[in-house]
Symmetry: C2
């Protein structure tokens, strides 16, 4: 490894920051942690680190980038891990006039045991060095690197994160509000329903601040929520207020089944 | 095994009927198959079989039970595997005046590779022999037998089947209707979203007729669909039309997170 190839992590005390600090240290890198009232100044960070990782909440991102920006030098490499990409890329383009810049979104939380098969979306904003280094480093750790332009990224996350979280919170609230005993529900689950409960279970380790920002800041979020509500109303109308509920339900079921068959080809085998 | 301890399966050519025929044969039982225009008469079936398994669609169930009923003798044991229990138990009580009767609902489809850890809900309608035999046989094959009275059963299935299938069909239709590429969606999935896709994938092997009946015949189905819609509207109102969407979303997220934490204690570990 090059001399002075240190990694400076802004937000290094947070959950994702700690995850990456651990990862980089295990790979033999020296890591500098900066966080609120802790660690070096931005100036010092940029001088003593080659790579700057921006691991800060979405709502604090613009301020951090603008405060950091005067000290970023040509030889610095900067990457972010924000859950959205349109706005963060715009902000990095606006403020960071020097150095190489990479936008990334690790599609997993800080509680994953390994990077094996975990997906990281990336988009090179400027420079080839950081991109090559990042891809090589994380690929060799088992992650899957997927190139995604910012607009496509945010739109896909409207489905993959916004709509998914929306459903999970909705579903969790139905369970919380129902008079049904959760132990009994688990005891009487089908394999399908247990699969849904296993996904809901993952919320136990998730952060409400991050989930609120993802839900509210994704530029396509509202659109996907409305799509969800519209389809929900249509299905209820078909089942409870139509002339031939059985026929319409079967048509909709078969549509979903075709998607299921496509998924059966695309998804990795379970177990 | 007793002499003449044959199992007669009404609907033995169907998917679940075939699943059970295979199971019983592997356990060393002789199996008689009866299906539409196939196999012995009800009279002969009742004479030559000890146990009668009713494996017929919900909408054909009343007719089958009433046609079978005159031939059921004191020494016969009858059990059904309907996805609902209130109506089927009522029908069996009304028509079957002789013999022992057990209501069951295997909470899995005919494509499961083994009975290990699969759940079977049961409710003894009359007699102790069939119940003891059934529990012993299926427990020793690895299944979990859960006693559930009919009303509780149908209510639980309003959540576990009706609401779950409703969501999966809704979600499949959103994917089918969106312009997003499914391969790309899979490539950019989070572990959470991949979990949902894995559940949706299971629809590929499911039967639209059964799913339509479960959706439409469950006496608590409409109630659960309306609950789903109501919670969906509430959440959208909070996120898109309230003064403080972040605060309300966080409250709802934390409610769901508490359920997730309870699930973390109740559910078996994944992997």
């Amino acid at each position: 490894m090059e001399d002075n190839f240190r990694i400076g992590i802004v937000g290094g005390k947070g959950k994702m920051g700690s995850f990456f600090a651990k990862f980089f240290r295990e790979k033999g890198y020296e890591v500098l942690i900066k966080d609120v009232d802790l660690g070096p100044s931005y100036e010092e960070l940029c001088k003593t680190s080659k790579v700057i990782l921006l691991s800060v909440p979405l709502d604090g991102f613009p301020q951090v980038v603008s405060e950091l920006s005067p000290y970023v030098r040509e030889e610095n490499w900067v990457f972010d891990i924000c859950s959205l990409k349109l706005d963060p890329v715009r902000i990095m383009r606006r403020y960071l006039k020097k150095g190489e810049v990479l936008a990334t979104h690790p599609l997993f939380g800080p509680y994953e045991k390994s990077l094996k098969d975990r997906i990281i979306a990336y988009y090179p904003v400027r420079g080839k060095g950081i991109k090559a280094w990042f891809i090589e480093l994380f690929s060799s750790a088992g992650a899957k690197l997927v190139y995604v332009p910012p607009r496509e990224h945010d739109r896909m996350m409207g489905l993959i994160q916004v709509m998914n979280h929306f459903f999970l919170v909705l579903f969790g609230n139905i369970l919380a509000g129902s008079k049904l005993d959760l132990k009994r529900i688990v005891d009487l689950s089908t394999p399908s329903f247990e699969g849904i409960l296993q996904v809901l279970r993952r919320l136990a380790w998730q952060d409400e601040n991050l989930y609120a920002r993802i839900q509210l800041d994704n530029p396509f979020g509202r659109q996907f929520r409305r799509l969800f509500l519209r389809e929900c109303k249509r299905l209820i109308k078909a089942l409870d207020y139509s002339e031939d509920p059985e026929q319409i339900f079967k048509e909709k079921f078969i549509k979903a089944k075709l998607i299921a068959k496509e998924l059966d080809r695309l998804l990795p085998r379970e177990d």
